[in-house]
C-alpha cells in the first residue's frame, strides 16, 4: 500500500463572447456638473468584477483618475441593454462599449476644454491626474471639476457619450458547421501533480502549474483571482462534484453542502500561475474573456496525472475514490502477480 505520485498535462483554448455573436451590450456615460463620470449599465457583477473593470476602462479612455468614475448598474429603467454575464463576454463586450462611450465623452470634454483654454482641441492631452492640459505647455490646463462646471453653466454642453459593442450574428451552415463563433480565443496550460492513495483511492492534488494567455490583464490582481479561483473549481470538478453520482441512475443525488462535496481550505494544491498577454485586436485594451477557461485544463491534467501515478485511466468524471479503487482492482485482475 502506497501513495503514488504522478504528473499530468493539458492545454486548452476558450472562446470569448456568446457563441455565434449577436450579443450586444451598451454603455452610457455622462459627467456630473463637478466632473464625476457616471457609467450607466445594466450589466451584472457575479463577483468577477465588471463594476471595477468598467470603471478602469472608462477612466483610462477619459484620461482621468479612477476616483472620477462611478459605475451605476444594473437597473433596466436606467441602464441600457446588456445581454448578460455569461460566455466570458462581460469584460470584452461591456469593456468595449464603455470605451466607445468614454471616447465620445472625451471628445466633448476636449472640445469644451479647447474653448476654455482658447486652443485647438487637438493640442490637448490628459495624464490621468484630472487635468486637461496643452501639450508642451502643461501649466496651461484646466481641472475636470472646473471644466464640467463650465460645460454645464457656461457653454451649455453635456459631456456625455454612448457606446455599444456588437459582434454581428453568424449562422452556422447546417451541412458543414461553417460558422464564425467567437471574437477571440484565450489559452491555458496546466501541469498537475497528484498523489493517489492506492489503499483508499483518494486523490490529492499537490501542485498546479498554470499558464494563462489572457489578451491583457486589465487588473492583474483580479485576473489572479479569476485564474486561481477557477483552477480551484477545476480541481473540485475533477475530484468531487456531481448531482448524480451514479449517472445515468438518478439515485443518491446530494441535496446540500454536506453531500455535494468540494475541496475546503485544507485541501488546496499549491498553485503556481503565470499570465501571458497577446492582446486581441478587438478586445478592450486587448483583453480576452478568461472567466470560464480557468476551470478547464486542470480536469484532464488531473486525470492524466492519476494515470501517471497509478496506471488507472479514468474516463468518467468525477475521479472519486470508488472509481480509482475499481480501476486499481481491474488492473490487478488484468495483471495477476
Amino acid at each position: 500500500m502506497a501513495k503514488l505520485r504522478g504528473r499530468g498535462y493539458a492545454s486548452v483554448n476558450y472562446p470569448t463572447g456568446m457563441n455565434l455573436g449577436g450579443d450586444p451590450s451598451q454603455a452610457l456615460i455622462h459627467a456630473t456638473t463637478t466632473g464625476t463620470f457616471v457609467v450607466s449599465l445594466s450589466s451584472v457583477d457575479l463577483g468577477q468584477g465588471i463594476k471595477t473593470i468598467a470603471a478602469q476602462c472608462a477612466a483610462e479612455t477619459l484620461g482621468l483618475p479612477i476616483e472620477n468614475v462611478l459605475v451605476d448598474t444594473a437597473d433596466t429603467d436606467t441602464g441600457p441593454h446588456c445581454m448578460g454575464t455569461f460566455a466570458s463576454r462581460g469584460t470584452h463586450r461591456v469593456g468595449n462599449a464603455v470605451i466607445m462611450a468614454a471616447a465620445e465623452a472625451r471628445g466633448v470634454m476636449l472640445e469644451v476644454a479647447a474653448e476654455e483654454l482658447e486652443v485647438d482641441a487637438a493640442d490637448l492631452e490628459t495624464d490621468g491626474t484630472g487635468y486637461i492640459a496643452v501639450k508642451g505647455a502643461r501649466d496651461k490646463r484646466v481641472h475636470i471639476t472646473d471644466l464640467a462646471l463650465a460645460a454645464h453653466f457656461k457653454h451649455g454642453r453635456t459631456i456625455s457619450g454612448r457606446g455599444i459593442y456588437l459582434k454581428e450574428p453568424s449562422t452556422p451552415v447546417p451541412e458543414t458547421g461553417e460558422m464564425d463563433p467567437d471574437s477571440c480565443q484565450a489559452h491555458a496550460c496546466t501541469v498537475a501533480v497528484v498523489e493517489v492513495d492506492d489503499e483508499t483511492g483518494v486523490v490529492e492534488v499537490l501542485e498546479l502549474f498554470n499558464t494563462y494567455e489572457v489578451g491583457r490583464a486589465l487588473n492583474p490582481a483580479m485576473a489572479t483571482q479569476q485564474v486561481e479561483g477557477g483552477a480551484w473549481m477545476g480541481v473540485s470538478h475533477a475530484l468531487f462534484e456531481t448531482t448524480e453520482p451514479y449517472y445515468p441512475a438518478r439515485d443518491h443525488g446530494p441535496r446540500d453542502f454536506a453531500g455535494y462535496l468540494m475541496p475546503g481550505p485544507a485541501d488546496l494544491p499549491v498553485q503556481h500561475s503565470l499570465l501571458l498577454e497577446r492582446p486581441a485586436d478587438n478586445g478592450p485594451y486587448g483583453a480576452k474573456g478568461i472567466g470560464e477557461m480557468t476551470a478547464n485544463a486542470p480536469i484532464p491534467a488531473i486525470a492524466n496525472a492519476i494515470f501517471d501515478a497509478c496506471g488507472v485511466r479514468l474516463t468518467a468524471m468525477p475521479f472519486t475514490p470508488e472509481r480509482v479503487l475499481r480501476g486499481l482492482d481491474a488492473l490487478r485482475t488484468e495483471e495477476p502477480c
Binding site: 463577483g47 486561481e228 453542502f257 488546496l268
Partner: protein, 162 residues
C-alpha cells in the same frame, strides 16, 4: 405556543422584538432588526455565511432558535467597523483581494473575528480550521486565509504601538 418578546444585546445595543416560536436568530436579525449582513445560503448550517457571534462564539444563525439565546450578546458584521473605520479583518479582506461575489464574506469575517479574539497569533492551520465550516465558491480560499493571517498581523502590530 404564542409569539414572545425576545431581548438581545446586538452589537452593544439592547434590542427587543416579537418572535414567533422557533424563529431562527438569522430570520430575526434580518427581518425584525433589519440587519442583513448575515446571509442565508443554505438554512442548514452547512455554508457558514450566516455566522454571527453569540457571546463571542461563532454560530450558524440559521440553526439557532432565537428564544434559546434570549439575553445573549450578539455580534454581527454590522458591528465590526467602528463608526466608518474598518477593522483589521475588514481592511485585510479588501487589501488581499479576498472577496469576489461577497456572499460568503460576512460569515468568513465573523469566524475570523472569533478566531482573532481568542488567538491573536493563529497559525495557518488554525485559520484553515476556523473557516472550514464556511463555503466559498469563487476564490479557492487561499486569498481568504492570507487575509485573515494579514489581519492578525495588523492587529498585533496595532496592539504593540498602543
Amino acid at each position: 405556543m404564542p409569539s414572545q418578546i425576545v431581548s438581545l444585546d446586538v452589537n452593544g445595543e439592547r434590542r427587543e422584538f416579537i418572535a414567533a416560536p422557533g424563529a431562527t436568530l438569522l430570520a430575526c436579525l434580518r427581518e425584525s432588526l433589519g440587519l442583513t449582513a448575515a446571509k442565508r445560503g443554505c438554512a442548514q448550517g452547512a455554508c457558514g455565511t450566516c455566522t454571527v457571534l453569540v457571546d463571542g462564539r461563532p454560530e450558524a444563525a440559521c440553526l439557532v432558535a432565537v428564544e434559546t439565546v434570549a439575553g445573549s450578546a450578539i455580534r454581527t458584521l454590522e458591528g465590526v467597523a467602528t463608526g466608518g473605520d474598518l477593522d483589521e479583518v475588514q481592511s485585510a479582506f479588501i487589501d488581499c483581494f479576498a472577496t469576489q461575489c461577497g456572499f460568503c464574506t460576512p460569515g468568513m469575517i465573523m469566524v475570523a473575528e472569533a478566531l482573532l479574539d481568542r488567538d491573536p497569533d493563529p497559525s495557518e492551520a488554525d485559520v484553515i480550521e476556523a473557516i472550514s465550516g464556511n463555503v466559498c465558491r469563487c476564490t479557492g480560499y487561499r486569498p481568504i486565509v492570507i487575509a485573515i493571517l494579514e489581519a492578525a498581523r495588523r492587529r498585533r502590530e496595532r496592539a504593540v504601538t498602543r
